[in-house]
Symmetry: C2
């Protein structure tokens, strides 16, 4: 039995800098380390699995998919420690049903996305898209128009998962008026973060100055943020989405955007890349980022540290963080 470290050079450099690779090797003993480039095709990958019959695989974006019958090839396999995000494309659901333990970067990357949310919120409140375009292209200067601050504003968050929870300490210095709507999240979590619960999505949108969209994408939440809801955001209000583009009816969002009544900040879209002809482009009340919320390259190390902690916990028989159970699997995209 050899455990498998299956990581590309670029992954090792950015996720496991410094002493981290050495520590990973210790935790993976006995191990083989292989660059995915050395595996020619799926057949070679399956043969490699069979030859080594690993208990643990430590891998990431560059991993080949595990086949449905992986336990026939590698009956010892118990744990996939996955450095990065997307699990569904590399792990069939049946493997989790049959007891394969899987962890990914979990919430270790959440705070970088929260940072992006704060940036978009501040950028909307301060009309950064407008000023960037006017200052650079049109020689503009302060026209004496009304200016706004985030201090004291009412902030409403749709969805209260890990990114929303990491956002709270970033916005707390600006305001105590923070509420959220997130069916299924227990009251104790809201209490812990001192965030009040809105009674409905309608109340969230109509009774806050700033809406931050962070709801998970499911069949129920697809396009749940529709034109009617968007139109209830107060004048000069802000709508920011750093979660999932398809939670919002993007055509409706573009119509509302065009009227200029609210400020909009987006890092995610229904279709990505955002089409060149999207009506969201060219509007000076819309701040656009190209899905760069997180994790940022310089914070991949947080995901590396998270994976190492999980490998250590696995070896010591302790509880792992961010286990990809069936519920999480089915909610992921």
């Amino acid at each position: 039995v050899n455990n498998i470290i299956f990581l590309a050079r670029g992954e090792i450099e950015t996720f496991l800098p410094g002493e981290r690779l050495a520590e990973a090797k210790l935790l993976m003993e006995p191990y083989v380390l292989i660059d995915p480039e050395e595996i020619a095709d799926e057949g070679a990958w399956l043969q490699f699995l069979e030859e080594n019959n690993p208990e643990i695989i430590f891998s990431g974006w560059a991993m080949e998919a595990l086949p449905n019958h992986v336990f026939d090839l590698a009956p010892n396999l118990k744990y996939l420690c996955y450095l990065t995000g997307t699990i569904r494309s590399v792990v069939p659901r049946s493997l989790i049903e049959n007891g394969l333990l899987v962890t990914n970067w979990g919430s270790s990357i959440s705070r970088t996305i929260s940072e992006c949310a704060l940036l978009l919120v501040l950028g909307c409140v301060r009309r950064v898209s407008y000023w960037t375009q006017k200052m650079h292209s049109e020689g503009a200067w302060n026209d004496g128009s009304e200016t706004h601050s985030l201090f004291g504003k009412r902030i409403g968050i749709h969805g209260f998962g890990m990114i929303a929870r990491e956002l709270i300490p970033l916005i707390r210095p600006f305001t105590d008026r923070i509420s959220a709507f997130s069916p299924g999240v227990p009251q104790s979590i809201f209490d812990e973060f001192e965030v009040s619960q809105e009674g409905s999505l309608e109340a969230l949108f109509s009774e806050n100055d700033v809406i931050v969209e962070l709801e998970a994408l499911t069949d129920e939440t697809k396009r749940i943020v529709d034109e009617k809801l968007l139109r209830t955001i107060p004048a000069n209000g802000v709508f920011v989405n750093v979660g999932r583009g398809a939670v919002v009816d993007e055509a409706a969002l573009a119509r509302v955007a065009k009227e200029g009544r609210i400020q909009i900040g987006l890092d995610v879209y229904e279709a990505e890349p955002l089409p060149k002809g999207s009506p969201l482009r060219g509007l000076d009340n819309v701040l656009l980022l190209p899905h760069v919320g997180g994790p940022t390259t310089d914070r991949r190390v947080d995901a590396g540290d998270h994976a190492l902690r999980n490998l250590r916990s696995y070896r010591n028989g302790n509880e792992l963080k961010g286990v990809f159970n069936l519920e999480v699997y089915d909610r992921s995209t």
Copy 2:
């Protein structure tokens, strides 16, 4: 003797909304309230001062200047409660020498400028000027280039007055690596804010990832941030100025900006309005705002509350906040 409330309608609406004007009137009894528009010229203003012989004047931007010989006209005058910022254009230095008590908005507006500083810092780290211009004008999308976060970065602040102190709680959630260089500020203040002192301006610039410029403008600090200093900022570093434009050699800043090695965020400039032909315009590593840092219109109310607190303290014989003594007068611009 009548105290004078000398405020424009727009000042009353934005600085003293709600019950604040009524409270001001109570504190100013006996008072006359006059709209500056009703005073035809300087002669009418001096006559008005003489007729009312006020102990207190409550005014702001719209105020006529006090003459050097104001005590001849209004021998009772003791306190000018000034709602807004610039004092030098309305109060000759000699009046402060002769004991006139003057307060202005003091530090009540600092936090809005700190908010702008955080926005520019995050906007630089996340390359918002680049993405805004490319996403809106060129149909761009994520090109896979390296991305950066503020988490864990070293932040160095030049100047440690009220705006810098208000900035600390806003950036603390991102990093504990905060230092400052501000000659004359006692060690106890740095200790209170848990900020380490850099030994020199050179160390501040070369040993931090993000520089926030907040030093006061004096004869000594004029253009103190020169090309040599700017070139010591590490690659991919950030330079943000929300303080005084003339502390920086702007021509040198434009040359450094053009090379694209660092990200730059500016709200203030050597000459304002920023000339249409400024070489800072059109660069995608420079985030430009037109001196809108603060106070924002919606937070003028903080200056109103600050003024009311001072009027109350004056009436009760308590200490006033933000008194404009000769030292502050000489440092102001």
